[in-house]
Structures are given as C-alpha cells and as structure tokens.
C-alpha cells in the first residue's frame, strides 16, 4: 500500500519537474542561446595573482613584513581614508604593526574623532586616543553618497574577506583602470561608461564609481624610503587590508602547525593501539 502511494507521489514530482524541464528547453530552443552574453560575462577579468607574506599555510607577518604593513597603512591614511572608513579596527591595534607605544599614541592623535565638548556638551571633534576606532570620513551614509556620485565607498575593514579572492582583487582593482578594449566596443556597440564612472575590468559590472585612487608614482612619500610606484602602493595597501580583515591570521597559522603536528602524532599512536587491540580478534578463532 505504502509502495503504491509512493510510486504515485514519485511520478507526480517527476512529471512536475520534467514539465518544468520541457518548458525551459522550449525557451532555450526558441531564443537560440543557453545564457545571454553580456559585456560583464565576456569582459570581466579575474584578479591577477598577488603574492603576500600572509599567503599559504605558513603565512604570517615576520619582522620584515611589518614594514610592508606600515607602508600600506600610510597609503590608507594618505589616500583611502579620504572616503573609506575602517570602523572595525581600533587605533590601539596599530601596535601590532610594530609601532612602539609612543608611536601608537602619536598616530592616534593624528586622527580627528567625533567628541563632546566637556563643558557645554556640544558635538565637537578631538584628537584620537588609542582606545578610539578609526573615524569615518563622513558623518552618515547620505553625506557619503552625496560626495561620491550616489555610491557609498565601502568600509575597508573586511574588504579582502568580503570579496572572492579578496587580496588579489584589491590589488588588481587598484592597478586595473584602463580604457575599454576595442573588442568590447565592437561586440557590444551600445556599451559606454556613463559620466562619473570609470572603466575597470576587475570590477563586477565593469564601471566603478571610484576614480583611480593610485594615479601617479610618488603620490605617497614612504617613511622608509621605498619607491612609491602605483604597483608598490597597491601591493602594500592590499597587504595592509589583509591585516585589517584578520589581525589574528598570523597567530592562527602559527598555532595550526603544532596542533596538526600533535594530532598526527596522537593519531599514529591511536592507530598502533587499535592494531594491537585488534590483533587478537583477527587471529583467534573462538
């Protein structure tokens, strides 16, 4: 009885889904293609490869790599912070980049954060302290949109985890501004980058509201004297953003090795113990 009802229910669902398949196949046949080709599907580029100290299973920031993070922080501060907030990172976290306590206090004081006048209670601003978080350049979303052609510059704290292949994406995007290729204009004659947007094949729909932020060599004068080419700045700020997304990444990788090592050792012991326990069972005929 159960089987008869089961067969009927099975045939019901099968018929329904095959009907959906038939109507879908009819649509594909009548339109002549499987999926529509658009400028995005044809000309969007995957991120270029980026090598960082934090890559791979052993990835962590050693002494030398802190220099890159400090350069990246400098790029963020002098170029990106004009429009992009970093709200999940606290100024005290800068100590992880190798700054001394005094340097961290000085860096914090160089940022202006919202405050309250202690005498009158009015909203005002004050220099930052290490306990403050990085301040947002805009008081609210409406101000952010008004200043950026109706686009909100995303917060950068997690950007390298919030995008597929994040670090490589950030690096490719920053160095990827170009003219739309001739093939694109041939294949899609109606394509044009609207006024106020910029063509960038690494961006999801090819036209990004952000003007190229890293546009000339020497835009930033690195404190450690490194030549500030566009590629170098993009490299450094991508490394910095990997750190802001996950400051504990180095510790995570470095803890992982002893854990896996111990587990491997313990599993081998467990295997040998299991063999010893089972040795009797396989030989004895009881």
């Amino acid at each position: 009885m159960v089987r008869i009802i089961g067969i009927l229910i099975g045939l019901f669902f099968t018929a329904a889904v095959l009907w959906a398949l038939a109507t879908g196949a009819y649509t594909v046949a009548s339109q002549g293609y499987l999926t529509e080709k658009t400028a995005e599907t044809e000309f969007h580029k995957h991120p270029r490869e980026l090598k960082l100290a934090s890559d791979g299973w052993g990835g962590h920031w050693g002494e030398e790599d802190l220099a890159q993070l400090q350069r990246g922080y400098q790029v963020y501060k002098e170029v990106c912070a004009a429009c992009h907030s970093l709200r999940h990172v606290a100024l005290r976290d800068l100590a992880q980049l190798g700054y001394s306590e005094a340097e961290v206090k000085a860096e914090a004081a160089s940022w202006t954060v919202p405050g309250v006048d202690p005498a009158t209670g009015e909203a005002t601003t004050r220099p930052g302290t290490p306990t403050d978080y990085f301040p947002s350049p805009y008081p609210n979303d409406i101000a952010a949109r008004a200043a950026n052609n109706n686009a909100i510059p995303p917060d950068l704290s997690l950007i390298t985890k919030a995008r597929h292949e994040g670090p490589a994406y950030a690096y490719s995007l920053l160095t990827g501004y170009a003219e739309a290729p001739a093939e694109l204009k041939q294949e899609f004659p109606g394509f044009e980058t609207p006024a106020g947007l910029y063509f960038n094949p690494y961006f999801a729909n090819l036209n990004i509201a952000m003007p190229p932020p890293l546009h000339s060599e020497g835009q930033v004068t690195y404190a450690d004297g490194t030549k500030a080419s566009v590629d170098q700045m993009a490299h450094d700020v991508a490394a910095f953003l990997v750190w802001t997304a996950e400051p504990s990444l180095g510790k995570r990788n470095q803890t992982g090795w002893p854990v896996l090592g111990f587990l491997l050792f313990a599993t081998i012991l467990a295997y040998l113990a299991k063999q010893q326990v089972w040795a009797n069972a396989k030989r004895r005929k009881d």
């Binding site: 089987r3 959906a20 398949l21 109507t23 999940h88 313990a266 295997y271 089972w278």
Partner: protein, 431 residues
C-alpha cells in the same frame, strides 16, 4: 537487545559499588558503550561516523556556548559583536572558526552516516525506529544550522533568511500570516534575529535528547553490520570496549586532522564572502545561496520553474524540497527487500552508485550555482532521478531483484567458517 554472553558490570572498588547502588550511571555507560555492549566483529570504517557526529555536536555546543557569552543578538550590533569576537576576545577567532567549520564537519559526517544507512539497509526492520529518529535529528540539524547562519547578520544571513522564510508564503491561504508570525514582522529584522538566537541555543539540546533516544533504540536490536546478517552467536561479536573504542579513537584522530586543517589554514574555504558584508535590506546580492550542505535541497527547490496542474511553481518547489527529506521516513516500507546490505544486492548497488550518488552530487553542484541554464536543466533531470530512485526504483528493485547468496553468519563472513554456530555449540542466540 540482550545478548546472553555480554560481559557483566562488576564494580570492585567500594565507591563504585556505592555509586552502583545509588545511581547506576557507570553501569549504564558500561552497558551502552563499554565492555557490556557486544557489537558485530566485522564493522568497517563506515560505522565510525555516528560517534564522529556525536563528537561534532559536543564541539558545537562547547564553542557555541562560549560564543554566546560574547555575541549580541540585536540587528544593530550583531555583525559588530561577531567582529569583536574575531578581534578582541582572547581566542575568539578560534571559537568562531571552530564553530562555523564545525557545522560543515557535522554535516559531512552526518551525510556519510546517512549514506551508510542507505547502502547497508540500516533502516530496515528491526531498526526502523533508529532510522526515524535519525531523520528527525537531521531535520533539527537543518533548522539549527539555518538559524545559526542568520545570526552574524551578514548579507547572506539576511537574504538567506528572506528566501527561506519567504517559502512559507507559498502555502495557500495561511502562508503569509504564518510567515509574519514566524518572523515577528514583515521581513527578517531584529525580531527574527532575536528569536533565531533563542531557538538556535535551544535546538542542539533537543538534538542531544533525540540522540539519546536514537542510541537507545539502536541498543534494543544491537548494531547492524556490513553483511546485513544478524548476530547469531558469541563468535559474531566483540565487546565495544576496547575494540571499537580503539577504532573510534583512531577515526577521531583522522577526523580532527582534516577538521583542524580547515579551521587553522583555510577557515573561509567553505564560506561565502558576501557574509562579511553587513546585512543591507536595500541591496540584493548577485547570487543568494545557502551554505554548501543545503545546496542539494536548494537545487530541488529552484528546479521547479513552471506551474503544474494549477499548483504554482513556487509551491511545487517548496513541496518537493520538503518531500525530498520526508521520503526518507518511508524508506523502511518502500524498500521491502529481505536482504539488508547492498553487498548482496547487485541491482540495488548499481542504482545506488550510478544513480543516487551522481544525482545528489549534481544537485549539490547546481544548488550553489546561478539559477540559469544549463544548471536548471541539470538540476531538473537530477531531481527527477532523485524522486524516481526512492519512490519508484527502490520499491520495484526490491520486488524483482535476485540477491546474491548471503553468508550463514558474521563469523563465516569474517573467519571463513562457523562450525560452532552451525553445530549449535553456542548458547541460544538472539535472532
């Protein structure tokens, strides 16, 4: 189950004898997973996954309770509190990654456990109740995992909640009022987040209770085995401790190595980047997908793109998605073959490896893809096979198949001959 040759619990130390008199918990443990529980001697590694699933539940509860000490289930600060855990709470990043990857590990282990059941006929008499309780556990796990994923209040959390709670709106007449009642509002918002947190904290303990029933129900007939032939005599079994405690210990080690490789070195490999963007009700992601372990069911949901016999496509998808799991409840009565194990069922085996497994893999792949061609057509064919497999093929195969000859007993299968059991030298055994 009362195998007469089972070892008896005999406490020697005075304290243990006192405990045995007042609250015989050590006796219970001894009889359940100690030397007092005889288990078939031929269990293979496919039998490890039950214990691993229990371990995953304990790990999820421990990491989850710690996370709950720092997480704020309010829509305004949920995302920020999760980042606070990742950055400021000592070892918070470890708790969070262990919990998120623990959910994936839990589902890997449970799927392997379920497919062990499919292949070896574990759902058949006399273990139907074990199977039914297991499907209940799986449904509770799905609810728990869904609600847990909503908690960080990222883009995928919010939009996934919107899609899945929106399915209730497909129910005719009462659908929308039910949806609003469940959400506490017209769309996922703080009310939904808060109650999801409460239920997400509660359900794992309900799961633990059902697991106790699941193991209790199993211990009545005792464990099945790869031959599907029931235990006949003492030589068919070994005491659970030390044989299977040792084997499970080794299996646990292998599991932990793979699990820790993910947690420490690729913790976001199975995650979707969009969930690191705070929820924005005004910005729909390009692709809304659940976590990987829901992809086969998501593919079935999205496969029904056309109205059928006056039933709207959306409702068809919802009915099919729930039916695809509810069908498992009826397996013991759909598959009537007296032979349990796929080892001795050649036709069944072919449909299992060349039909069911590929269809589930294809459904999983399509569930994570864009709902457009060719994935839609692939998922439609795979869905058709899935329903045909359980509801048409299995009943017919079980009626007409010619199984291979079974071994006389487990002892014969393992050691080659079972003279003692054939000649009746052992004490009367359970059948």
């Amino acid at each position: 189950m009362s195998f007469p040759w089972a070892q008896h619990y005999e406490p020697k130390a005075p304290f243990m004898r006192w405990m045995d008199e007042k609250l015989p918990l050590p006796r219970l443990v001894y009889n359940a997973i100690g030397a007092g529980y005889p288990v078939p001697r031929n269990l293979n590694y496919a039998w490890n996954f039950g214990v691993l699933a229990g371990f995953c539940l304990v790990m999820q509860i421990v990491t989850g309770v710690i996370l709950a000490m720092h997480f704020a289930p309010n829509a305004l600060i949920a995302f920020d509190s999760t980042e606070h855990i990742m950055r400021d709470v000592n070892w918070g990043w470890l708790m969070r990654y262990a919990h998120a990857n623990g959910a994936s590990a839990f589902f890997v282990v449970v799927y392997l456990h379920i497919f062990r059941g499919f292949f070896y006929g574990s759902y058949k008499a006399p273990r139907e109740m074990v199977w039914l309780l297991g499907v209940v556990i799986f449904l509770l796990m799905m609810a728990t995992a869904f609600m847990g994923y909503v908690l960080p209040w990222g883009q995928m959390s919010f939009w996934g909640a919107k899609v899945i709670t929106g399915l209730f709106g497909a129910i005719p007449f009462v659908g929308e009022p039910i949806q609003i009642w469940l959400l506490g509002g017209y769309a996922p918002d703080n009310a939904a987040l808060n109650r999801f947190f409460s239920l997400h904290f509660l359900l794992p303990f309900v799961i633990a209770g059902v697991i106790i029933l699941h193991i209790w129900a199993l211990h009545i007939p005792g464990s099945s085995n790869p031959t599907g032939v029931e235990v006949k005599s003492e030589s068919d079994t070994l005491p659970f401790h030390p044989y299977y405690t040792a084997k499970d210990g080794f299996g646990l080690g292998v599991f932990l190595i793979i699990y820790c490789a993910f947690v420490f070195f690729m913790p976001n490999a199975l995650a979707h980047p969009d969930n690191y963007i705070p929820a924005n009700p005004l910005s729909t992601p390009a692709l809304i997908v659940p976590e990987w372990y829901f992809w086969p069911f998501y593919a079935i949901l999205r496969a029904f793109t056309a109205d059928f016999l006056f039933i709207p496509a959306k409702l068809m998808g919802v009915l099919a998605m729930f039916a695809s799991i509810l069908v498992w409840f009826f397996l013991p009565w759909l598959d009537r073959s007296p032979v349990r194990s796929g080892h001795y069922r050649p036709l069944f085996r072919k449909f299992f490896w060349f039909g069911l497994i590929p269809s589930v893999v294809v459904l999983g792949y399509c569930g994570g893809s864009h709902p457009e061609e060719p994935y839609l057509m692939m998922s439609q064919l795979a869905t058709a096979y899935y329903f045909l497999h359980f509801l048409v093929i299995l009943p017919l195969v079980s009626a007409f198949e010619r199984p291979a000859p079974l071994p006389f007993s487990i002892t014969e299968a393992v050691l080659g001959s079972d003279d003692k059991a054939v000649l009746g030298e052992n004490a009367a055994a359970a059948s």
